[in-house]
Amino acid sequence: MQVAVEGPWSPLLGRLTLDAIPYTNPILIFTFVIAATAGLVAVGSVLYFRKVGYIWREWLCSVDHKRIGVMYMILGLVMLFRGFIDGVMMRTQQAIAIGPNSPGYLGAAHGYLPPYHFDQIYSAHGTLMLIFAATPLLTGLGNIIVPLQIGARDMAFPYLNAVSLWLTVSGALLCMISLFVGEFSNATWVGLMPFSELPSNPGVGVDYWMWALQVSSIGTTFNAINIIATIVKMRAPGMGWFRVPVFTWVMMATSIIGLTAFPVLTAALCMLGLDRYVGTHFFTAGMGGNYMLYINLFWTWGHPEVYFLVLPAFGLISEIVATFSSKSLFGYPTMIAASMGIAGVGWVVWAHHFFTMGMGPDLIGFFSAATMIVGIPTGVKAFNWLFTMFRGRIVFTTPMLWAITAILLLLLGGITGMMLSASVVDYTVHDSVFVVAHFHCMVLVIGAGIFAAVTYWWPKLFGFKLNETLGQWFFWTFVAGSLLVFIPMFQAGLDGETRRLDYLFDTSLRPLMLLEVAGIGVYFISVFFFLAMVVVSLVKREPAGQDAWGTGRSLEWLTHTPVPFYNFAVTPQVHALDEMSWRKANGLEKTQPSTYVPIHMPSSTSLPFIIGMLSFVCTFSLVWRIWWLAGASLLAAILLVIIRSFDKNEGYVLSAENIAEMERKLHTVSLVAEQSKVLPVGGHAEAH
């Protein structure tokens, strides 16, 4: 039943041999040294500061939605950095390899990367950036903010939430280990078909890609279920559907996409797996297989996935623009309609990803027009943001600068997207770097939204603001880098530079390549400013108050800063859409509850972490076809799930006295903190 694969296979280690370790590749050895050093520093410092128990109990076993959100974001940032390094390698390769006959270094024919290595790099770049950077960053933000915005204690299913996180982590680990054991897919992040089938891709690369995507997409589906359940069932009393904050609304739209679209990917990857492992013919060119089926299935997921990523960013921009304009969001009901519209139309446009694959004019006409319809709700959103700023009191804080930049990038990405949706244009720039520049513009909208959100909600979570000066330096260098990289890329694409080629075909475009490399240099500076921002802020710890920016509008600004693990001492009663603004207008934002009621909280558990690690072992062994280990780890994971379902632990209850005591302490601390510049710590807090 099992198909024959190239090379040796042993029952104990499967396809894994010493040759799988690329110890002869200088680039990978260098990467390994860096990664190993970083890993040793991280583990070493945990050991040195004797924090193993703390990390294990408070983080790895945590089911607190805020901690899970933070871990999602750390994962996303690490993967963002790795994806960025992949981008650096692609840009420098193309700036060095000018023409197919230019000199080569490090054993490559031209440039310093042989094609098969270059192919893996851009496949990894796409997979990592979309699935393991953007998705975790946005999921993390959703995890942190949604329960706070609706006044909930936690997500609806805290345990499932942790399982989602650790499944995503195991997928990311699989991508990382492919650097040093074996190879990654060279079939791009979309999995070209039939190129991803065994005859063209006999190595383990496609298997790594497939399992990483599979395991993380299961995690994302779980997370979508969780967010929908949380929003539907756990809103604070008084929060009818038209008092739900706009970010929570878009997370609802996003999660509906996630819940409905990701299973399509799961099914497509299952069929690909059967093709590669069992020898079926779902997606082969012959024997009754049909690779167009895969391409349709992939983009049936892939296009909604694009909106799965961009909609949360739209929600973040909406929150931030309203806050820093000191004004209600303009057109709240149409904003929600537009979000739902985008989520809906996103389902009927998938075929625009393959206009060139022999489609007739009727189909192309339909999908071209359908794609353009997306421009309508997106345009509505842009207008609503503009009219939120109109007659506002705008403050140029770092989050606001990011949000305005996101709108500008959206215009650039939007106009090029409309161009591409016209197949007459697509016929000339399809598979060129013009497309690459277009979707990077859109991903930069997401990136700008994420950086805005990180700066904006950071004080709520950690109790101190990020350094504003360094934040603005980070902002300006990042934006300058983006423009330097992607504006020349648009030009190169229009001039016919095809994507996925490891050298520059039209040598006259070299100045553009050099500009892009200059942009990459500026990006490097921005990474430095980002790290400096975090470190300086951690050291300085300028305390932030309950309403850190002074113009917060939604419920999360009502509770303490930093947010206690139970979120709200008593579940707040909601009176208005912008509850915090309403309370400030009525002088109710500082009131303390007179009585407390017990709070039911979920217990920490190590099971999700263990299940995640088992699924990593399982997928890793499937990649290398180590059947016994794959079976054993899968069985162990299933057993753990069964054992857990017999667990009678229903969490624990915080007593009213406990809460009162903690609240008293928090209250004192926050008042002292607000005065710390004037008074020595521990001063006359009671006087205020």
């Binding site: 190239e6 197919p100 006959n101 054993g107 024919a109 031209h110 042989p114 094609p115 192919d119 070209l192 039939p194 065994l198 063209s200 891709n201 006999p202 013919h281 082969t284 060119a285 012959g286 024997m287 690779y291 304009s325 000191s326 004004k327 209600s328 303009f330 057109g331 709240y332 022999g358 006409g365 027009a369 353009m372 421009g375 309508i376 997106t378 345009g379 509505v380 207008f383 609503n384 503009l386 700023m389 007659r391 506002g392 009191r393 403050v395 709108i407 215009l411 106009i415 409309m418 161009m419 016209a422 197949s423 007459v424 000339t428 598979d431 016919g496 095809t498 996925r500 490891d502 075909f505």
Partner: protein
């Protein structure tokens, strides 16, 4: 025809500028105008205006209606399967030149069924006549693209796709693959030469006399086997049964014939040591 695409690109972009430029200006002006230091008019509770909302939906809607109409009419004009645009071109009165394109790992094979010849990585056609391309691939997908000449269309295994163009003056272009097909993708270029009719006829004659013969067996046993043609060196064949090969290649792919690429070949491609054994079969 590429000119027609350029024309539409300019129009579509231009029409969008009508909405993009004012929005861009508003995005820059509003934050500056309503900056808190300016003490401009401030309406903290103003959050809805039916007029603005109707306009916010209607303006993009109108734009989309216009653009969608343009896009749909354009695709019917340049339709690569049967372009009405070519029916009114000067070459419409003459019979089209038929070329069958097969993308292999990793070369382009051009078969001329009416002339009984074939080439690798060199597409030669006469000026002033319509060129009708029928495309397939042996094993994986490749994108067929000559930027100045014809719309990009994929060559797909077990399927047949079509493209067409007409160039009225002798010229030279380079075509290449746009859809990634493996490590040899980097060398999947082909020359595109548009010759005057007389030169074209002479060229066909000379190739018909070529001692290299392309038959179905030569194709499957040598040419279709995975190989990198470093530098995309062209080769020329006489092919007495040229008309049969294309259909058989499509049927082969449908019947599950593949040309497996060994892992070791992928890894050796374009490292310096891999450069020596370049495409012995084709030449």
């Amino acid at each position: 025809m590429a000119g027609l695409e350029f024309h539409y690109t300019l129009w579509i972009t231009g029409i969008m500028m009508l909405i993009i430029v004012p929005t861009l200006l508003m995005t820059i002006i509003f934050p500056l105008r309503y900056h808190h230091s300016r003490n401009a008019k401030y309406t903290p509770d103003w959050h809805f205006s039916a007029t603005i909302e109707i306009l916010a939906w209607a303006i993009p809607l109108a734009m989309v209606v216009v653009l969608a109409y343009m896009s749909v009419s354009a695709i019917f004009r340049i339709n690569p399967w049967n372009a009405p645009e070519l029916a009114s071109a000067p070459g419409a009165s003459q019979p089209p030149v038929k070329v069958e394109v097969i993308a292999t790992d990793w070369q382009w094979v051009f078969i001329y069924p009416d002339e009984n010849i074939a080439t690798i990585d060199d597409l030669v056609v006469p000026a002033g006549r319509r060129v009708q391309l029928t495309m397939t691939a042996t094993d994986v997908m490749n994108g067929f693209y000559i930027p100045q000449v014809a719309p990009m269309v994929d060559a797909m295994p077990a399927m047949v796709s079509k493209d067409a163009f007409e160039i009225d003056q002798p010229a030279q272009f380079t075509g290449f693959s746009t859809d990634f097909s493996g490590a040899g993708f980097s060398w999947m270029q082909f020359k595109t030469r548009i010759l005057a009719q007389a030169d074209y006829d002479a060229w066909v004659k000379s190739v018909q006399g070529s001692p290299n013969q392309l038959t179905y067996d030569v194709f499957t046993q040598k040419i279709a086997q995975p190989q990198v043609n470093y530098g995309a060196t062209p080769s020329y064949f006489s092919a007495p049964n040229a008309g049969r090969i294309f259909g058989m290649v499509v049927m082969d792919a449908m019947n599950g014939k593949t040309y497996p690429v060994p892992d070791s070949l992928t890894k050796s491609v374009a490292s310096n040591e891999g450069k020596a054994p370049a495409s012995p079969a084709a030449n």
